[in-house]
């Protein structure tokens, strides 16, 4: 509808061809984003189905699962929410807990912000609204090498990943216990493999290899040791703060030397 109206409005004007080209380039970037989302979608398929089954088992209805995936859209937080609902925890305490689980997104959002200074505020808000561990990881990989892929690319990546999440969690809830196991196919390992690949690519993209490897080693170690005493998501926050500082200091020194 909108496309037709735009075409009708610009047809015959000198700018029409140019407009069309712009729109095509934008559509192309969006499709590139959708295509680049494939590893995330594979991982979301396994986790999403599992979440749907768990939620249904805990007494959460299919529409509630779909709503949660639509507006909350955060894997670990959704598992925690369902667990707390099932345990009868008061609403206020659940919301505070979810805030603490998801506060790590501050770091993702801040890290992306250095790449999107040229975009409009509403575009940045839109990019942030669908930021997850996985889409942040994937986008960092793309932002790390070469030209900015465009706001359309981000939107394609985000929308495709989000759509897959809504679909798979809902399917899992509909199927309930009748889904046996996606694990046999190895899909549950897709996200770990994606993290490994992106980590290697990120390290390779830093100017000082040793500083990057050291930061990664520290990050991994703190994330595991921290998880022994902290909730897993806070171990990630702690690991990120420490490892990024280690990386910054070592790389800064190496470049001065």
């Amino acid at each position: 509808m909108r496309r037709n109206r735009q075409q009708a409005g610009t047809a015959g004007s000198p700018g029409a061809a140019h407009h069309g080209a712009c729109r095509d380039a934008r559509a192309e970037r969006y499709i590139d984003g959708v295509r680049d989302a494939v590893p995330v979608i594979m991982g979301y398929t396994a986790i999403g189905l599992a979440f749907g089954v768990v939620a249904k088992t805990a007494g959460v209805t299919v529409p509630e699962v779909a709503l949660m995936s639509l507006i909350l859209y955060a894997g670990s937080a959704q598992f925690v929410t369902v667990g707390l609902i099932a345990a009868g925890v008061p609403a206020g305490a659940i919301v505070v807990t979810i805030f603490l689980v998801n506060v790590r997104h501050l770091l993702y959002s801040a890290a992306i912000s250095t790449h999107v200074r040229h975009l409009k505020t509403w575009q940045n808000a839109l990019i942030g609204a669908e930021l997850t561990d996985e889409t942040f990881a994937l986008a960092s990989g793309r932002l790390g090498r070469g030209a900015f892929p465009g706001a359309g690319w981000f939107l394609g990546l985000n929308n495709a990943s989000h759509a897959a999440w809504i679909l798979c969690t809902s399917l899992g809830a509909v199927a309930g216990g009748s889904i046996t196991d996606t694990r046999a196919l190895g899909f549950d390992f897709a996200l770990a493999a994606m993290f490994a690949a992106l980590l290697v690519l990120q390290i390779a993209g830093r100017p000082k290899l040793l500083a990057a490897v050291a930061a990664a080693a520290v990050g991994g170690a703190v994330a595991l040791c921290g998880a022994l005493i902290l909730p897993a998501s806070w171990a990630i926050v702690t690991a990120t703060l420490i490892a990024a500082t280690v990386g910054m200091v070592l790389e800064g020194r190496a470049e001065k030397a």
Binding site: P63, L67, R104, A184, A192, A243, G252
Partner: protein, 108 residues
Amino acid sequence: MIRLSIFLIILGAAVVTLIPRVAPLVLLSRISLPENVVRWLGFVPIAVLAALLAQSVAMPEGRLSWPPENLAMIAVIPVLAIAVRTKSLIGTVAGGVAVMALLRWVLG
């Protein structure tokens, strides 16, 4: 059916999740940051990825576990090798899924 109490919980959780996702992107992209801060933020992906990888490989069920129960800890070795060798994201993910399926088929 969506119960009102559940709707409110989901809405509240969604709002407190949206704020840390959007606020830095909207605010920090408008001001210029010192060089060291930009470098620090540049290391955030490596730090986060290392942390996420460590946790998803060492504690796939949410707690620390070892092979043979935890096959991810074995699978990550060839997967890192594939990543270093090929520098290909999709190739590594496909390889990782295949390695895991194979491990389960052989050992499971």
